[in-house]
């Protein structure tokens, strides 16, 4: 839903901004062997492969292999140079000057000499991104940039509209070549470039097969040095069960996201490694405060009390996750550890309901002056995602125990979206947000965000929260901001506009012959050029 980068990244930012200029990035001198092929399974297919028009996770992962940004992050989650050697920012934080590497060349276009990477490409990318005819979800992220100008062939200068925190991280957007797209001004999905993109990254797109397999080969003259593994092949699957079997039977070597139900089976097999990484998203039950019953904070809180989150986490997700009490990533600077998640306490829940004027009706359902406490819970249908079904059913079950009647209504994805964000025809929804970088929660809880196709679908408005949010946006002082967020956190935890559930631990599974596998929580393949397969396993 919302664009994101790692929240951990934001923390490390505080440190590394001071560390300029960076140490020169080292080449592939680790002496690990080259060769071998990596087949990895994806659930679904990439729509497009360029970094601008594409907006699904699968394409995002692939473009991570093909392209580079001006800056990147290393395995220690620190900002490191990629296409830029170094960056200079003005003291007012409005001017960013990037000095580009001179040794970077684009992947060869068939029948052409590989072109060198220059400032023009950066400007081109920025312009294309911002062109009205280019449809991309990136636009909103870069509206803070005033202008981009080329100083010389290897120097680019960005002027910001206003100083913002961790701006540098945002310059990790991928650069596309000026000579890439056929159209010189904007990029649409009909441009051939989106299906055979060329980049500067460690892997070159060779072709897409009839079965929609994306085949990538090592870029011999990658400026960080040739990646170890010769070939990456992304295989699309339409059935997760089959995909996990494909792994178990060595038809593929890696699954980027393992379905929780398959974790035990894979754990049981010595040939495979399960590698956890942060899901960077959290699940919640969101309430529609337009419904007078739910406008009452006590009811929302009662529901939160009535739900046994730990039990669900344990029996549905093998306990792989953390229960949260607020809209921030646990462990991030914004997360307030003093606020404990509400414990599972049905009796408290009932107390609260009584307090709110509800009494047990004849049929065991709570009612307040004749009105039953019966809510419709709308859930989007996802093929074979029983995780969602499980949570929803359990929720219904828990609330039944305290006399709240839940009518679970599963709806097809797009019509669910309209119900929730356009017509607001729901009482409760089950959904997940991915964390916003800079942990900005404006769009979720600020009263100005109430309306069609706005993120504050529950029409939650609380002047106190509003004012805190505004205040936090104005300040640039990190500590100040931190305290404000801790405040916000505790308010929201108490007000329960959502029942915050958990942030899960994702698992990638791969055959143990893959070595030195480091995973970026979100882009996944950021460090893939360091992965390798020992000779004896390369067959």
């Amino acid at each position: 839903m919302k664009r994101l980068t790692s929240v951990l990244l934001i923390m490390s930012l505080m440190v590394c901004v001071v560390m300029l200029p960076w140490t020169e990035a080292k080449g592939r001198t680790d002496g690990n062997p080259n060769g071998g092929t990596l087949n990895y399974g994806e659930y679904g297919r990439a729509a497009t492969l360029d970094p601008i028009t594409s907006n699904d996770m699968i394409s995002l992962r692939i473009s991570e292999l093909i392209f580079n940004g001006l800056v990147g992050i290393d395995e220690k989650q620190e900002i490191v140079p990629e296409l830029a050697e170094r960056v200079q920012m003005s003291d007012d934080g409005l001017k960013y000057t990037f000095y580009l590497r001179k040794d970077v060349t684009w992947h060869p276009k068939e029948g052409e000499e590989p072109k060198a990477f220059t400032a023009d490409d950066v400007i081109f990318t920025y312009n294309v991104m911002m062109h009205p005819k280019t449809i991309t979800s990136l636009k909103v992220r870069f509206e803070f940039i005033e202008s981009a100008t080329k100083i010389d062939d290897h120097t680019v200068e960005f002027i910001l509209k206003r100083p913002i925190l961790n701006a540098l991280a945002k310059f990790s957007f991928k650069i596309i070549p000026k000579h890439g797209p056929e159209n010189g001004e904007f990029l649409t999905r009909e441009d051939p470039f989106v299906h055979k993109p060329i980049g500067t990254g460690p892997y070159i797109l060779r072709n897409i097969t009839g079965d929609h397999e994306v085949i990538l080969v090592a870029n011999e003259d990658y400026f960080h040095g040739r990646p170890h593994i010769d070939k990456f092949i992304a295989k699309p699957f339409a059935d997760q069960n089959i995909m996990s079997q494909a792994l178990m039977f060595n038809a593929i070597d890696m699954i980027v996201l393992v379905n929780p139900r398959d974790i035990p089976q894979i754990q049981g097999d010595k040939h495979f490694v399960l590698q956890p990484y942060n899901a960077l998203s959290y699940s919640f039950f969101g309430y529609n405060t337009r419904n007078p019953l739910l406008a009452d904070k006590r009811v929302r809180k009662a529901i939160t009390y009535a739900v046994n989150r730990q039990e669900m986490l344990d029996s549905f997700f093998q306990g792989q996750g953390t229960i949260i009490s607020g809209p921030f990533a646990p462990g991030s600077w914004a997360y307030n550890l003093d606020v404990q998640p509400l414990s599972y306490a049905p009796e408290k829940a009932i107390e609260l309901l009584n307090e709110a004027g509800f009494v047990q009706g004849g049929d065991g359902i709570m009612e307040k002056d004749g009105e039953k406490l019966s809510l419709t819970l709308k859930v989007p249908i996802e093929k074979e995602s029983e995780a969602v079904k499980r949570v929803v059913l359990a929720f219904k079950n828990y609330l039944g125990k305290i006399g709240v009647d839940i009518q679970a209504e599963f709806k097809e994805w797009l019509s669910w979206k309209e119900d929730v964000f356009l017509t607001h025809d729901f009482d409760v929804i089950f959904a997940s947000w991915v964390f916003d970088d800079s942990a900005d929660i404006t769009s979720l809880f600020h009263s100005s965000e109430i309306g069609p196709w706005m993120n504050n679908f529950g029409a939650y408005s609380n002047p106190e929260v509003d004012s805190f949010i505004v205040e936090s946006k104005l300040t640039l002082d990190h500590e100040k901001r931190r305290t404000i967020y801790r405040r916000l956190h505790s308010i929201l935890a108490d007000e329960c506009p959502y029942t915050f559930l958990w942030t899960l631990t994702n698992y990638a599974a791969y055959h143990k012959r893959l070595r030195h596998v480091a995973i970026h929580p979100y882009k996944f393949f950021s460090f893939a050029d360091g992965w390798y397969i020992p000779e004896h396993d390369q067959q």
Partner: protein
């Protein structure tokens, strides 16, 4: 017979073409309407990854130069279609026609193949029980046919896959991951087999063919044939076999296409069914329309086949 039946076939073809054109128009219109009625904006998928505001959504339409009113869109679409341009997929931006042709071939394999399997199973059973009535020989087979046509197709698929993996360890081949060409035919065979067995029509086919055949076998002219010592098969072939079979093929194509949607997902088969499903979820209307047209054409071809056979065979019509 050849001579007598060429002319009527020609006239038939010309007439069918007209009808088909009409039907295609109807199909496209209805599908488009349904699309329009179903909630969800096809272009919202371009903005996925952010919560697109109403304004942003309009912006997209502006950018793509899409008419606002649905009939506008439809007219544009059909205008292009008549020039043989089916537009490009909203999701992938690829030209719809090529895509459909590419995956359509696979689905065609699947459909025709499994139709063949279905007949292969059903026909002998039907004929033997039409000729001889229930016998100790054909009864078990009949029951078998009934059982398999009562199985949920995807479950059958799972079973087959499971068996082939765990018993024969053939997984890589099943999914074309093996470079071993020697066994790759299995990849084609299994889905066809599963869909052919599990499309739930076998019992129907058996019943229909059996009834038709036994009706024909009771005809006077068959008695004459027997009195002549001629082969009953040869004499009952046209009315008792050819015509019913062509009818079955024509009428079952839509069913099997439906089954393909499921089987293609289970077997990871790059076909039209999967494409259709994806497109329907994205409301990717150029693709959906394209597929609707393609299926309609396929079905019409089936009907056409039936009519042609009927006319070729049946002297009364010439």
């Amino acid at each position: 017979m050849k001579l007598t039946s060429v002319r009527p076939v020609a006239t038939l073809l010309s007439r069918e073409l007209g009808i088909t054109a009409l039907l295609l128009f109807g199909v496209s219109l209805v599908v488009f309407l349904v699309l329009y009625l179903s909630p969800g904006d096809p272009f919202s998928l371009l903005l996925q990854g952010q919560m697109a505001t109403a304004a942003a959504r309009e912006g997209v339409r502006e950018a793509l130069g899409v008419p606002k009113a649905w009939y506008g869109q439809y007219l544009v679409w059909i205008g292009n279609m008549l020039q043989g341009n089916f537009g490009t997929s909203i999701r992938s931006g690829l030209p719809v026609l090529n895509e459909i042709v590419r995956v359509g071939i696979n689905t065609l394999y699947l459909t025709i193949g499994s139709m063949f399997v279905t007949l292969l199973v059903a026909v002998p059973i039907a004929l033997s029980s039409a000729r001889r009535g229930t016998t100790a020989l054909n009864w078990p087979f009949t029951m078998f046919a009934y059982v398999v046509s009562a199985l949920p197709v995807f479950w059958l698929g799972y079973i087959v896959i499971y068996i082939f993996m765990h018993k024969f360890g053939l997984f890589p081949i099943l999914f074309r991951f093996s470079r071993d060409q020697g066994l790759s035919w299995l990849y084609f065979l299994l889905p066809i087999f599963v869909l052919g067995i599990g499309n739930g029509t076998i019992s129907e086919v058996v019943r229909f063919l059996r009834e038709e055949m036994s009706r024909v076998l009771a005809e006077d002219y068959i008695r004459t044939a027997r009195a002549k010592g001629a082969s009953i098969w040869a004499h009952s072939f046209k009315e008792g076999f050819l015509i019913p079979i062509s009818e079955i093929i024509a009428s079952k194509i839509p069913f099997i296409l439906g089954g393909a949607v499921v089987v293609e997902q289970v077997f990871n088969w790059p076909g039209m069914g999967r494409m259709a499903w994806q497109a329907a979820q994205d409301r990717d209307y150029p693709v959906i329309m394209g597929i609707a047209i393609a299926t309609a054409v396929l079905v019409r071809l089936g009907t056409l086949l039936q009519r042609v056979v009927y006319i070729m065979v049946n002297p009364r019509t010439s």
